[in-house]
Structure formats: structure tokens, C-alpha cells
């Protein structure tokens, strides 16, 4: 029996890229998991809601060990969306799919508690913020300048660095920056700074009327914002898990 096609419109398929965190476990795996737990205890929720890819290219591992590793990560609420660098024989149905063709992106900073030493060894793909250097400059982040108002429905997405808007950001518009967000105008829409995991990113605006503010995944809605900041020139930054704000004059 053949199926008759009554609706002949073609199906639209689009490509889209997402920035994923890449975890590259190192042997011995038990010790690596302990270090991961330590990291998670200092930045709760770091992996929550973020796509994570497991890179096993440099790991001598068999299928049973890989399954166990995925289980262990699952217990820590780290959900793996794909596995990179694995031999075909490693995979079995029900495992996350094999991924290839990933392009490198800037290292992702892990939010670090003030009293704990840097965790440069936690994972080769993650670097702790270097207290002495300016993190963004050190990594050669770029920036873009937008010279006109950002209108409702528009979004500016720039994971590579800072976004500066000379003009206002409308209600219903959004700015998503890997680095800081600077708005020389009224910020009415959403501003998400440090969106690829940069806790030192900041948000600056000449007049705060924002619908939502986020730095490194920590967010504040309009309702959570102190009323005395509304309409003011403000800068916002992250201290631990809270967004701090102060008026600029």
C-alpha cells in the first residue's frame, strides 16, 4: 500500500547552533567525579538547563564504563545531550547520540566562591577566573556597537563578548552578550550578560526600566528589582548568586 500525499508543502528544516558546555573527563574517573562534585558545590546549578556534551576522545573507556559515567553524571543532574569523540562501538541504543563537527568557542568560566582557590584542574575546557588579570581582555574578547535603538522583537546575540547599544532597548527586545551589556539609553527589554558563563560580566544602562536582567544565568525580573532603581542610571554585577545594583551618577 502506498500513502497518498495530500499536503505537498515541503517541511522546513532549519539549522541552528547552540553553545554547549563540553566536559572532558580525565582518568581516573572517580577522582574526576570528586572534583566535579567540588565544583558543583561551589556553583550550584551551574549545569542546570545548559546543554552539555561529553568529550571522550582522550579517554580509554569501554561501553560499560561509559554507561556508568553517564549514570554518575545523571545523578548529579548533568544531562548529556551528545557524545563527542567516541568510537562507534561505544554506543548503544538509548545513549546520547554521537556528535561531531563542533567548533571551539571561548572557554567557559566557572563561577567561583571567594574563599576557594582556583580550580584550574577541574577540567581542561574550563578555566577559573584569574583574579589578577582582567578576564575578558586576557581572552581577547571582542565587542560590538549598535548605533540605533533595538526595537521590540529584535534580539542581539553576541556570545563572543560585549554589546554596546547607543540608543534604547525596547520592551520586548533582548540583548544576549557573552560579556557585558552597555546601554546608552533606556533599557526596557531584557539584558542577559555573561550568557556563556561569565560571572564577571556586568550590565550598565543610562535608564533602567528593564523587564528582565540576567548575569551568568542568575536573573531578576522587573518585579524583583528595587523600585528606587527604576528610571535611574544603574550598573549591575554578580556577587555569588545575587545580582547587585548601584546607581551611577
Amino acid at each position: 500500500m502506498t500513502k497518498v500525499l495530500t499536503d505537498t508543502r515541503s517541511i522546513r528544516i532549519k539549522g541552528r547552533s547552540f553553545l554547549a558546555l563540553v566536559l572532558s573527563p580525565e582518568p581516573p574517573l572517580d577522582a574526576w567525579l570528586t572534583r566535579l562534585d567540588d565544583l558543583a558545590s561551589r556553583s550550584a546549578g551551574f549545569f542546570l538547563g545548559r546543554p552539555v556534551v561529553l568529550d571522550v576522545a582522550d579517554l580509554e573507556i569501554d561501553r560499560a564504563e561509559l554507561k556508568k559515567l553517564i549514570d554518575e553524571l545523571g545523578k548529579r543532574n548533568v544531562r548529556i545531550m551528545g557524545i563527542e569523540g567516541g568510537r562507534p562501538s561505544l554506543f548503544e541504543p538509548g545513549m546520547p547520540p554521537a556528535m561531531k563537527g563542533g567548533r571551539p568557542a571561548p572557554d567557559i568560566e566557572i563561577p567561583d566562591g571567594p574563599s576557594i582557590e582556583p580550580v584550574g584542574t577541574a577540567s581542561p575546557k574550563a578555566t577559573a577566573p584569574d583574579v589578577s588579570a582582567e578576564p575578558q581582555a586576557a581572552r581577547g574578547m571582542s565587542s560590538i556597537v549598535i548605533r540605533e535603538p533595538v526595537r521590540s522583537g529584535q534580539s542581539v546575540i553576541f556570545p563572543e563578548g560585549d554589546v554596546t547599544v547607543v540608543g534604547s532597548v525596547a520592551s520586548g527586545a533582548e540583548i544576549i552578550a557573552g560579556g557585558s551589556v552597555h546601554v546608552y539609553g533606556t533599557l526596557r527589554g531584557r539584558a542577559l550578560a555573561g550568557s556563556v558563563g561569565n560571572a564577571s560580566a556586568r550590565i550598565f544602562c543610562r535608564r533602567l526600566e528593564a523587564e528582565l536582567l540576567a548575569i551568568d544565568g542568575v536573573y531578576k525580573t522587573a518585579e524583583d528589582m528595587a523600585p528606587n532603581l527604576r528610571g535611574q542610571a544603574v550598573q549591575l554585577w554578580l556577587e555569588g548568586d545575587s545580582i547587585m545594583a548601584e546607581r551611577l551618577n
Binding site: 535603538p149 522583537g153 540608543g167 520592551s171
Partner: protein
């Protein structure tokens, strides 16, 4: 040289069709050949406001599909012989307007008219983007309330992205037309202030049209407000707005307020 104007807003019911008819008649009264084009396929009502609903034979979709020639579809106004209407189809679905078809119609209209005014459907979908596609000038119709202002902002973004001019790296000239402005409600603080709307949208103001029963009266008569009673408050506002669009400098007044305070509003440019 023909100028194409799109009258647009995003939101419905703000006064686009009323404004298209009123501005069209006002420009035609300057002795410049003007056509108003209804892009609201399926919900046409520009013909009603123009009082031409019983004279519609062919429409824009017929022209696009080759069932009729453009001159057969154009309806000449009975009061002003420089004013024409190209009606929309009531029965076709929205997809019968194609980009190629619209381009063909526009190219032909440009040969015969000084002003081509496109009445946009509501929304930000295909119908609205086709209506703005060939525009040189956009009249953004906005009511002084939050949802209308936000939709207008959205439309302004599309004007900078989806028009032929934008694709050539040029700009569409934008004018804010505040309509249904109610002085009493403004004083009570029930509506956004003119200043606030201008600050949010940051495009120049071309006119403020008061909320008025004269608009309904005119549409019941089947006449553009500027023809029904050219001394009424909305007619005066539209007549001034048309002169500004045509490049004249006319002082701005807020309906119901004395002059003075308003000098600073006029001629305000995008930040």
C-alpha cells in the same frame, strides 16, 4: 517621481484605514494624483471608508493573477478626480498576494501616480511585510497606549529590515501619527503622554489626531474624514499631517491644548 507610503501599525483597530483614506484625500486635494491601495485581503474595508464599496468590480488579486488590467481595477473617487482606490479582495485568502505580483502592481502604479498609499493589514506577517515592501515613507499609526506603542516599535524594526530600501542599505522615512488621542484621558493620566511615546519610539511626529465622533460620522457617510467635514478637528489634524508628509513645515498642536508648549515637540528627531 512617485512616492510610496505605507500606513502601518502592527496592532489592529488603531486607525490605519481611517488614516489612509484621510491622508489620501488630503494629498489628492493638493492636485497630486493619488491612489490608496488596500492590502488587507480578506478583511477589506478601505472601500467602505472611501464610499466605493458598490463600485468594486476587480481587485488587486485579479490584477496580480492577470484576470484584469490595472486600469480596470482602479476606482476613481466621485468627489476628487485626482483620487483613486485599488481595492482588496474580500473572498481570496491572504496568500493570493505574492511578492512578485505586488512588485508588478507597484511598478505600474509608479508610472501613473504621484502618491501611492498602502493600507497595511494588522500584524507582522506576510500581508504587513508585503504592504511595506516598496515603501519610501512609512506612517506609523499609534494610539497612546502601551500595547500599541510596543507593536509600533516592532513594526519600525521590520521597516529597517524587510523593505526594499533596507535591503539596498537605504532608510525608509518614518513618521509617527498619534491617533485616537483623548485630551481628557491624557489629563487624567489614563493614556501615555505624547512625550513618552516619542521618547520610546524615537521617530519624528507627523501629527496628533484626536479621538472624535467626526471619524465615525465620516465613515458612515462613506467619506474620508478630510472630505466629510474639512473643518472638523480630526480633518484639520490630517490635513496638517499630509502637508508635513509633502515636505512643508507646519507648527504642531496637541488637540485641545493651546500652542506654546508644543514648539519643543515639533521637529523632534530620532535620538
Amino acid at each position: 517621481m512617485a512616492k510610496v507610503i505605507v500606513v502601518t501599525s502592527g496592532k489592529g483597530g488603531v486607525g490605519k484605514t481611517t488614516s489612509t483614506a484621510a491622508l489620501g484625500a488630503a494629498l489628492a486635494q493638493r492636485n497630486e494624483k493619488t491612489v490608496v491601495v488596500d492590502f488587507d485581503v480578506g478583511l477589506r474595508n478601505l472601500d467602505l471608508v472611501m464610499g466605493a464599496e458598490r463600485r468594486v468590480v476587480y481587485d488587486i488579486v485579479n490584477v496580480i493573477q492577470g484576470d484584469a488590467k490595472l486600469p480596470q481595477a482602479l476606482i476613481r473617487d466621485k468627489r476628487l478626480d485626482t483620487l483613486f482606490l485599488l481595492p482588496a479582495s474580500q473572498t481570496r485568502d491572504k496568500d493570493s498576494l505574492t511578492p512578485e505580483g505586488v512588485e508588478k502592481v507597484m511598478t505600474e502604479l509608479k508610472k501613473h501616480f504621484d502618491w501611492i498609499i498602502c493600507d497595511s493589514p494588522a500584524g507582522i506577517e506576510r500581508g504587513a511585510t508585503l504592504a511595506m515592501r516598496h515603501a519610501d515613507i512609512a506612517v506609523i499609526v499609534t494610539n497612546p497606549e502601551v500595547s500599541s506603542v510596543r507593536d509600533s516599535d516592532r513594526i519600525i524594526g521590520l521597516l529597517d529590515a524587510k523593505t526594499e530600501r533596507a535591503e539596498r542599505g537605504e532608510r525608509v522615512e518614518k513618521h509617527l501619527l498619534l491617533t485616537r488621542y483623548d485630551q481628557a484621558r491624557a489629563e487624567r493620566g489614563d493614556m501615555l503622554k505624547v512625550d513618552d511615546v516619542l521618547e520610546i519610539l524615537s521617530i519624528p511626529l507627523v501629527g496628533i489626531v484626536p479621538e472624535s465622533t467626526d471619524v465615525l460620522k465620516a465613515s458612515n457617510l462613506g467619506a474620508p474624514v478630510t472630505l466629510a467635514d474639512n473643518r472638523s478637528a480630526p480633518a484639520l489634524a490630517y490635513l496638517d499631517a499630509a502637508r508635513r508628509i509633502a515636505g512643508e513645515t507646519v507648527p504642531m498642536t496637541i488637540p485641545g491644548e493651546r500652542r506654546g508648549l508644543l514648539g519643543k515637540l515639533f521637529g523632534r528627531r530620532a535620538a
